[in-house]
């Protein structure tokens, strides 16, 4: 007897639900795979569709039918409102969490940016200090004050750290200017804003296009007029 023959033999028993529980489960699994048996069972069930009507009807209690309808519809309404409410609450919570996270992320990004800038500045300082190949220094006498200018030259990165200290703030209509001394002449570096109390520190790249930079100079320039060439008094002059 082939395995399938057993299922053919027990089709009627399955349709009548007379099989033992284990066999019924086995048959149900088989039906999922066997189109022939599915069709045969469907035919059997169609033929016997009205057989349950062999049982006489039982009079229902008063209000029973109304109670059945109400209970079904109540559960429907309950489901209809509960699930959208749950979904809406979930959306509100999710949006709240998302907004809180976005705010936190924005704050963290801002803080990270500030720390990055701080780190870059620290790195610059460290590179300039630790990578210094040459140190040039000179003193400055101005208006009875004694200060100085220091150049820390990093030849690997071609960056200079320039420190000017001990000289008073520039007078009205004047400004301090640092110049690079190059093979082609003086090239403007940057304005130096001085304060007697604390040193002015500049981190300068080499002037673009300039040939051989030989040193640096600090001058007092008038605020107006041509800024590309030094016209004022030279306070300090350092050459490599």
């Amino acid at each position: 007897m082939k395995a399938h023959d057993w299922f053919i033999e027990h089709r009627t028993d399955y349709a009548a639900r007379a099989l033992e529980s284990d066999d019924e489960g086995l048959f149900r699994d088989h039906l999922a795979r066997c189109a022939e048996c599915r069709a045969a069972i469907a035919e059997l069930e169609r033929d016997l569709a009205w057989l349950p009507m062999g049982v006489a009807p039982v009079p229902v209690r008063p209000w029973f039918t109304r109670s059945v309808v109400e209970r079904i519809l109540q559960s429907r309404w309950r489901r209809r409102w509960v699930w959208p409410a749950v979904a809406a609450a979930a959306v509100v919570v999710a949006v709240g969490i998302w907004q809180r996270d976005q705010t936190r992320i924005a704050a963290l990004v801002q803080e990270l940016g500030a720390r990055d800038a701080q780190l870059a500045a620290t790195r610059d300082t460290l590179v300039a200090a630790l990578g210094t190949d040459r140190v040039l220094q000179t003193s400055i006498e101005l208006n009875g004050k004694r200060g100085g200018m220091l150049i820390l030259a990093d030849e690997a990165t071609h960056r200079w750290k320039v420190v000017v200290h001990g000289i008073p703030a520039a007078r009205e209509g004047e400004r301090y200017t640092f110049w690079f001394i190059t093979a082609d002449g003086m090239v403007r570096g940057a304005e130096v804003i001085c304060d007697e109390l604390r040193p002015a520190v500049l981190m300068l790249d080499m002037p673009p296009g300039a040939r051989f930079v030989k040193g640096g100079s600090l001058t007092i320039e008038p605020k107006t007029g041509d800024l590309s060439v030094p016209r004022g008094r030279e306070l300090a002059h350092l050459e490599l």
Binding site: A16, R17, L51, P52, M53, G54, A56, P57, R71, I72
Partner: protein, 202 residues
């Protein structure tokens, strides 16, 4: 005796058109359609569940479950099998069998069912005959009465009381093979007898 199946002039519970309309209304969540269905079918479903479970409260729970399943899963007229009422009857029967077996497994209850002949073979009384669907019951009842007694008993135990082969064999004190054979012969005969009812749609 007049064979009820042969009475072609007997009105149907629902015409094809009415069934399609009812299914469409149920599928579109028409609450009045649900109320109509519950009104017509409750006595029959209660009869099925009560004859199997022999417990009026549990039978009412089965009826409620059945309508709830029907309401949730009713296929549209162009989907699923034809025959809305047979589909619902089958749900009620299956739910009853499931409960019965669960109960038997759980409590190992001694059979306390009364002979089903009382409910299945209920006599047709004039006021009952006016009940919607009674003519279908009369037809099935007639088909059952045509079976040889030994087959009818096995069919009733299996189909209307939810017993398995081995339970039937033990109850009737007959060999297992005999119980199987009688059930198959009885159901085969019923298939032939009830064939004209196949096209009766509600």
């Amino acid at each position: 005796m007049i064979d009820p199946i042969q009475r072609s002039s007997r009105p149907r519970l629902l015409s094809d058109q009415r069934e399609d309309e009812l299914r469409a209304r149920l599928a579109s969540r028409d609450e009045r359609a649900l109320a109509e269905l519950v009104e017509v079918l409750s006595p029959w479903l209660l009869g099925i569940a009560q004859s199997m479970l022999q417990d009026p409260d549990e039978a009412e729970e089965v009826v409620l479950e059945t309508f709830r399943i029907a309401w949730d899963r009713v296929p549209a007229p162009d989907e699923g099998p034809r025959g809305l009422i047979p589909w619902i009857l089958q749900i009620a029967r299956n739910r009853s069998v499931d409960r019965l077996r669960s109960r038997r497994r759980r409590l190992r209850l001694v059979e306390r069912l009364t002979p089903v002949e009382e409910s299945v073979a209920a006599a047709v009384e004039p006021d009952e005959a006016a009940h919607p669907g009674w003519h279908v019951h009369a037809s099935v009842h007639h088909a059952l009465s045509e079976l040889p007694e030994e087959q009818r008993r096995v069919v009733r135990l299996a189909y209307f009381e939810g017993h398995t082969h081995s339970e039937i064999a033990a109850r009737l004190e007959i060999p297992l093979g005999t119980a199987k054979t009688r059930l198959r012969l009885g159901l085969d005969r019923l298939r032939a007898s009830l064939a004209p009812l196949k096209d009766w749609v509600l």
